[in-house]
């Protein structure tokens, strides 16, 4: 399946990655090449096969719904690029 530049731009928007106009043609070629290569899976008969979601053959464990770590607001905020007082900050989203 060949991807055109418009599709690549749309996928980049979905992934929230800024891609310059200049990068689009090269990316379209690369991604089309990879998708063409993985297309070979269509040749495998999987009609009676259950999809495999995990190799771990176990039921997800339950645990007590209790707090296991002490409050550490300052430690968590320390890595925020523009943390302010006790909050992470983002550009204004509501006018």
């Amino acid at each position: 399946m060949a991807l055109d530049q418009k599709t690549v731009a749309r996928v980049a928007m979905l992934a929230r990655i800024k891609v310059t106009e200049a990068d689009l043609p090269g990316l379209a070629t690369e991604l089309s090449g990879i998708l063409g290569w993985i297309e070979q899976l269509q040749a495998v008969d999987t009609s009676d096969v259950e999809p495999m979601t995990s190799v771990a053959d176990l039921t997800l464990p339950m645990r007590e719904d209790v707090v296991t770590v002490a409050a550490q607001r300052d430690a968590i905020l320390a890595n925020g690029p523009e943390a302010n007082e006790s909050f992470f900050t983002v550009p204004k989203v509501v006018e």
């Binding site: 996928v11 990655i17 990316l27 690369e30 096969v49 995990s54 190799v55 464990p61 890595n79």
Partner: protein, 489 residues
């Protein structure tokens, strides 16, 4: 006494225990070696001062009889494991300056066992690569060069810093992680041993996630015994990782009996693909002969869906990566590039923060998971993955372990294979199937190519049967008697 750096982890541990060597001497020798090999770019962050201080405490513990299994042993940590108070980058610009407020379970266990970290080792960005050239912190150079050709070679990837540091004797052993071959392929390229245990053996908690259904931590060291010792300290159930296996960890050092008489060693016929390098095939045959000479029985088996493993992997892994890497949004950690709106801030941050290979994989993953394509790509790949796992289950009804080459070639030079992403992906042809099935697998150094570069043999075992993989690897390692060292290192 021989040079301190010549001692294996096992031998260094004995010397520490009988006090013929102090931890201060041992760690000091390695700290000097780290400085002397900086040209390899194996480390992103060194913690040598802290290591030298820790060695003093280790000596007190050794003197008072309070030593733990790895007390005083200097190791390196792949920079994908979160380490409290020490920068953790995952090889990416987007995490530059990230100081985790917590410690990964694996590194916490290693510290509890007494191991001393010399620092954080370079890797392909977010562990995506087979050459270590995708790291934002620059490529790692292998300590090896081809005979008569001094062009720098790649150490393999993604655990390339770990591999180069072990091979250059800048650490006694190192942690790695393996999603499609990222421990085994660099181990083969640099002439060291490396084991990826069964999915679920080592906790993934605190390891920067790439593809959660495949990621698994493992050990890289000079030989099989050292790998067994390091892995012993890393593995075990952890309630903080819901896919961690609630199983006891056997004594892997005790599994190295040197006896594989009667063991059934499988040879997957589909791995003998057309165009495989004749040197690789010859080494494989040699490995089978060593196993036979040691009393094992060689059995040909069929893994019919092998040819689809790489394509399956390159759908599953990017899809999981695109989801996992959604967290790098410039809000809670890492770098932020401002924008007028929230979406623009996200796009600017992620556009600047991710390198070309990571961007490529996120875009592929986003596309294959998007509405209208999910069934054709992701669901299809999950079904083929089920068939690949079934192939292995059936083969393991006939045999105890599988023997294959680790990589289709020896190490390549920086700059080779760089233009075509698919040519790079083919490096993982022998390692990816075991990853998809979650099986334990190990590479050991077994011979040299015609241009004097290391080549590896690869063993794959049943789920949670690392013991048989290690036992067989140990016998083959002895038979191979690999003693070559990188020139100049």
């Amino acid at each position: 006494m021989t040079d301190i750096l010549d001692l294996s982890l096992a031998a260094a541990r004995r010397a520490l225990a009988d006090r013929s060597l102090s931890a201060v001497e041992l760690v000091g020798a390695y700290a000097k070696r780290v400085e002397a090999t900086r040209g390899l770019n194996a480390f992103i962050t060194e913690t040598l001062d802290h290591a030298v201080e820790a060695a003093k405490t280790a000596d007190q513990e050794l003197a008072s009889g309070d030593a733990k299994p790895l007390t005083g042993v200097p190791i390196g940590i792949k920079d994908l494991f979160c380490t409290k108070g020490v920068q953790t980058t995952a090889g990416s610009a987007i995490l530059k300056g990230f100081i985790p407020p917590y410690e990964s379970t694996v590194t916490e266990r290693l510290a509890a066992a007494g191991a001393i970290s010399l620092g954080k080792l370079n890797l392909d960005e977010f562990a995506m690569g087979s050459s270590n050239i995708t790291s934002h912190y620059g490529p790692v150079k292998s300590p090896w060069t081809r005979a008569g050709d001094d062009r720098p070679l790649v150490p393999g990837g993604s655990s390339g810093g770990s591999a180069a540091a072990v091979a250059a004797r800048a650490v006694l052993a190192a942690t790695g992680t393996d999603t499609g071959g990222s421990i085994r392929q660099p181990a083969a390229f640099t002439g060291i041993a490396g084991i990826k245990p069964t999915y679920g053996r080592c906790s993934r908690w605190g390891i920067v996630a790439f593809a959660s259904s495949l990621d698994q931590a493992g050990a890289m060291a000079r030989d099989v015994q050292d790998c067994a010792i390091l892995l012993q300290a890393m593995a075990g159930h952890d309630p903080k990782d819901s896919t961690s296996a609630p199983l006891p960890v056997p004594d892997w050092s005790a599994a190295l009996t040197g006896d594989i008489r009667g063991l059934k060693v499988g040879v997957p016929k589909e791995y003998r693909v057309d165009g495989t390098n004749p040197e690789i095939l010859a080494l494989w045959d040699q490995g089978l002969a060593w196993a036979r000479d040691a009393g094992a029985e060689i059995v040909e088996v069929s893994l019919p869906h092998t040819q689809y493993a790489l394509a399956t992997y390159y759908i599953v892994a990017p899809a999981e990566a695109s989801s996992n890497l959604a967290r790098y949004d410039g809000v809670r950690f890492g770098q932020r590039v401002p924008g007028k709106t929230l979406d623009e801030m996200y796009e600017n941050t992620r556009g600047a923060g991710f390198g070309a290979e990571v961007r490529r994989r996120i875009l592929i993953g986003t596309y294959t998971l998007s509405a209208g394509y999910y069934d054709a790509y992701y669901l299809k790949a999950q079904k083929v993955r089920a068939l690949i796992a079934r192939d292995f289950r059936e083969a393991f009804q006939q045999v105890d372990v599988l023997l294959t080459p680790t990589a289709p070639t020896a190490a390549f030079a920086l700059g080779e294979k760089m233009d075509d992403p698919i040519a790079m992906y083919l490096n993982d042809v022998f390692t990816v199937p075991a990853s998809l099935a979650g099986l334990p697998a190990m590479s050991i150094p077994a011979g040299l190519s015609s241009d004097q570069l290391p080549l590896g043999l690869h063993l794959i075992g049943r789920p949670f049967d690392e013991a048989t993989v290690l036992r067989c690897a140990h016998v083959l390692e002895r038979a191979a008697g690999f003693t070559a060292r990188p020139q100049g290192y």
